[in-house]
Symmetry: C2
Amino acid sequence: MELDAYLEHTADQVDRLIDRYFGAPVGELNRAASHLLTAGGKRLRPALLILAADAVRKGSSDDLMPAALAMELTHTFTLIHDDIMDRDSYRRGVPTVNHKWDEPTAILAGDVLNARAFSFLVGAVAPEAARIRATGMLAITCDELCLGQHLDMTFSSRNDVTDGEYLEMVEKKTGALYGASAAIGAVLAGASEPQVEVLYRFGLACGVAFQIQDDLIDLLAPPGTSGKDRGSDIREGNATLITILARDRGLDLSPFRHPLSEAEIEEVIGLVADQGIFDEVRGRAHGIVRDASALLKILPDTEERRLLLALGEYFVARGA
Amino acid sequence: MELDAYLEHTADQVDRLIDRYFGAPVGELNRAASHLLTAGGKRLRPALLILAADAVRKGSSDDLMPAALAMELTHTFTLIHDDIMDRDSYRRGVPTVNHKWDEPTAILAGDVLNARAFSFLVGAVAPEAARIRATGMLAITCDELCLGQHLDMTFSSRNDVTDGEYLEMVEKKTGALYGASAAIGAVLAGASEPQVEVLYRFGLACGVAFQIQDDLIDLLAPPGTSGKDRGSDIREGNATLITILARDRGLDLSPFRHPLSEAEIEEVIGLVADQGIFDEVRGRAHGIVRDASALLKILPDTEERRLLLALGEYFVARGA
C-alpha cells in the first residue's frame, strides 16, 4: 500500500468514529465541541498512532482506532483553546468556536474534548498496564502542549528568541503530541522499550518538521493555495526559524510589519532567499527527520516501517 | 477521632503534597497554575476520597493521598476556567488567575492542572484495573463538570428554570466531583460494586447539599462573614432553589436586581422567610443527605462510616 492510500484509509476510519460519537451532538455544548472536529482535517496524529502500532506487531491495529481518535480529540481541544487566545475567527474554512459561539462556550468545548480524549484512551483495547502507561503519557503530553503554547505567546513580546528556544517551543507545542501518538501506538501494541523510545523520537521529529514546513508555507505558498493568510508571520513579527535566521544574518524585516501586498511579500521572499535562509531551514527540517528515521532501523523490516519512513518524508515535502 | 480533626489532618497532608509539587513553581505558567491551589481551601474532595477508602478497608489510606490531590487539582482547574467565564477578579481572598495574569494564561493554567490531575490519578498506588477504572471515572466527571457549568450559564438568560433543572445542573456542576471523589476512593481501596455505587450517590448528595447551602449562605450569612458578596444571587437574578421557589409562589424578586443595601437584603430575607422558603430549602438539603446516608448501612460499621455520616451532616449544617 502507498502512503496516500494508508492515510486515506485511516482518515476514513477516524471520520467514521467521529461521525458515530460526535455526528449528532445533543445540546449546545456538544454542538460546539463537535464543530471543529467534524469540519475535516488530515487526521495525521491518529494515522501515526496506528502506523506505529502496525510497525511493531503483525496484524491489523484497527481495534486501536478509538485510542487514535483520542489524539485527534487532544489536538482539536488545543486548537479550540488556542483560537480563543489568538482571537482567531476562522479555521479549516469554518468559524472558530469562540467566533461562532463565545469564549466561555469555547473554553468548555475544549475542556469537553480533553476529557473525552482521556475516556477513549483509558478504554483502549490493550492490556491494563499498557493502557495505564499510555494514559500517563497523554497527561504529560497535555502538560507539554500548554507549556509550548505559553512559550509561543511569550515569544511575541521578544525580539531576541534564539533558534534553540524556537525549536524547544515547537517540540512542546507541536512535536510532543506527534511523539506521544507514535509512542502510545507502540505501547498499546506491546512494543519493547527501545521501540517505544525511537518511535517517540521519530514522532517528535515529524512534528517539529511539520511546524517548520508550516512556517515555510506561510510565506512561500502561492496565494490562495494554503488556505492561510500569506505572510502573516512577517506581518506580525512572529518568531519562526525563518525570521530568527534572517535577524541573525542582519536582515531587518521590521519594515514589513504591516498588511503586505503581494509585491511586498515577493520582496521579502527575495531578501530571505538571497541569504540562503530557505535552503538552510529546509535543510534543518530534513536533517531532523533524517536523524530520527535512522533510529527506526531497530524496527522489523516491514511494509509498515517503509510507510513510517515515507510519512517522515511527507512531513518535510508537503507544500515545499 | 472527630470529624474536625480528621478534616484537618487530611487538609494538612494535601497541603504538604501541594507544597511539594506546586510550592516552588518554575516559569510563569507554573506560577499561574499554582496560584489558586496554594491559596488555601478546605480540601473537602480529597478528604472524601480518603474517608471513602478508609471506610471500605482496614488500615491507613495515606498512600492514596496523590490520588486525593487529583480531585483538588480538578476542582481548582474548573475554578480557574469558571473565573474567566464569569470575569471574576477575586477568589479565596486573592486575585483570580485571569485578573492577576490574563485570560490566555488562565486558560492554560487550568489546562495544566487538568493534565496533572490525570497524571496523579493514573499513577495511584492501587491495582492496575482499579487505576484504569478510577481514571475513566475522572474523565467522565470532567465531561459532566463542563456540562454543569454550561447549564448554569444558560440559566442566566432564562426566568423559567424549574427546581428539577436546577438540581440537575447542581448535580453535574458540584455533585459529580464529590460523587467521583467518594467512588474513586472506594475503587482504589478495592470496594465491592455496591459499595462503589452507594459511595458515589452519597458523595453526589453531599455535593448537591453543599451547593444548596452555598445559596443559603449567599443570602443569610451575616455581613462580612462568608467572604462573599452578600445577596449576589438576588442582585444578579441567578436561578437558585431559593429564587425558583420564590417565583413559583408568586414572589417577585425582580425589583431587587440592583446593588442592594443591607436594609434591602433584610427585606428580601423577610419576604422569602414569610413564604417558608428557607425552611423548605433546608429541608430539601437535609432530605437529600439523609436519603443518601441511609444507603451507607451496607458499609462495615466502623469509625470511618460514622465520620462519613458526620461529613454529610457537616455539609448541610455549615453556615446555616
